[in-house]
Amino acid sequence: MNGRPRQAVLYLVLAGAMVLAALAGLAVGPVRLTPAEVWNALGGRGNVTAVAIMRDIRAPRVVLAALVGAALAMSGAALQGTMRNPLAEPYLLGVSGGAAVGAVLAVAGGAPFGLVPLGAFAGAVAAVMLVLTIARAGGRRPDPRVLLMAGVVVGAFANAVIMIALASAPADSVRNALWWMMGSVAGATWGQIGWFAAYGVASAGALLLFAPEIDVLALGDDAAAGLGVNVDRAGRRAYVIASLLAAATVAAAGLVGFVGLVVPHLVRTRAGSRHRAVIAAAGLAGATLVILADLVARTLRAPSELPLGAVTALGGVPFFLFQLRRFR
């Protein structure tokens, strides 16, 4: 088979898997509902409890999980290409540390709990900007190695701030903020999904639009410059869009690790070397993975939940180790 039909098959398979995962996510829960009841309740028919379970508990969870998974996987795919580093991931450039600091400081500063996501987003954005600034100060253009170091340094700084906040702020509130950072779509609401979808679709669209630039950057800076690409600007654009997309996922669902690292690798061998295809396929696969991870998170330890970030990482760590072996 040649390129196009093969990719069409890939998209069909991935979309089908995502639909199946979503159906499983809608059908399974502590309250047993028959497929007919699920269908009717989604349409607003049947008893009030079933309708509320479907429309206000399960459906928002599934949709938010899908959006967060897609966003993280697309962000990771773009960053891996741009940085020419197979182990790059969405939180690399300070997003996780910055978001945690933002969330904890918002709480420690007495902000109501509803403002924690906003604090996390602001912290993540500030950290990404800081990392990019540090990396530029170190040389002419954001060298991936310098970026990586800047990310580590900012992360260490963020950790120190969190420790200080933990030690000095009211214990309950900081704990609450850190619990929230562990990742969950349990509190998903349609209002939240609305703004996240708008932001996510715009960012994902931008990543797909600039994907050909990433293809060129992936060849190496010199080759890209030789092909007439402004390496500095193109690289920075990809870093900023991908990192801010990841920052938005943190605001929506806390930290959901390893999706952005693992999923692009899962699809890359089949989607080919073009980043537009890799990013799009990663989005579909990431959505599927996080819908399923959420299903595991809320059923494995019922009536309690596992942190979503822990479930994705449990699946992701073995894969990460496998990757390390391959690159040695």
């Binding site: 502590p30 509320a52 990586l148 260490a156 850190l178 562990m182 509190g187 690790g257 939940e305």
Partner: protein
Amino acid sequence: MYHRSSSLGFGACVALAALVVACGDARSRTTSAAADTAAANVTGAFVLRDDFGDTLTLRAPPRRIVSLNPATTELFFALGAGDRLVGRTHFDLYPPAAQAVQDLGSAIPPNVESVLGVRPDLVMLYASNSNRDAATRLHAAGVPTLTLRIDHIADFRRAVEILGRVLGDTVRATVVADSVRRTLERVQTAMQGKPRLTAFWKAWDSPVIAIGGGSFLSELVEIAGGKNIYGDDPRPAFDVTIEDVVRRDPDVVFAGPESSERMRTAPAWRALRAVREGHILIVDTMLVGRPGVRLGEAAVSLARLLHPGSLP
């Protein structure tokens, strides 16, 4: 970057552990009988084994007490020994006189140096695993330290008795214990024959934390004529999914004022019949929050919420 994400994971684990501790720690429960081995030996010293299995020897009633558990702080005041307290936790706000006692921070685990700084001759700790290290250090520093686990109503009765002996005032301890017991019995008797409403006690919002059978609150609900939907779980508190609460379909919900408001406005909670029917009962979290001398009052307030007009 991996260093960073693992450190954050560590932070989150610390947070988790702390939360579990704050809600009580069911797994490390030692047998309640351990602390009952008390005896006066020939020299007149008073020997006691606490819930960590440590031995405490008191030669005279303590004069400078640090109480790092809100329940024991209340109890010292009730036993007339409030003026002997030289340290408390950040959360010991009852009775109001307790607020004049020096605040030594959040208790689990305590800052050992701050505790030593007020030169106590008795330190009271809650029997959480996180306090084990502090207990060891305090013993090593020669400070008499008594660790008690107070999670259930029976634990409270035992604590009253032990503290009465420690303070050398068993008469007053008996009066306090009897007063609480009589109030609880009065409530229980008044609620007999009333329909048993099933209840969900929401202790926290995100994550949603339910009170389980391992907490005195579950016992209070039963005494007040209700039945905790998570009473069959031996843990004191644990997180639950909203849908699991919906499956258990409680008649009423107990929650604090802010928590109730959040519940009324969150779309997901509309799935719960009790919420749709307006059966969210707002509890006075300061009154019912701890297994102390106000257990009786707390039971009365819950009974009035569950069955209005049933208690004078």
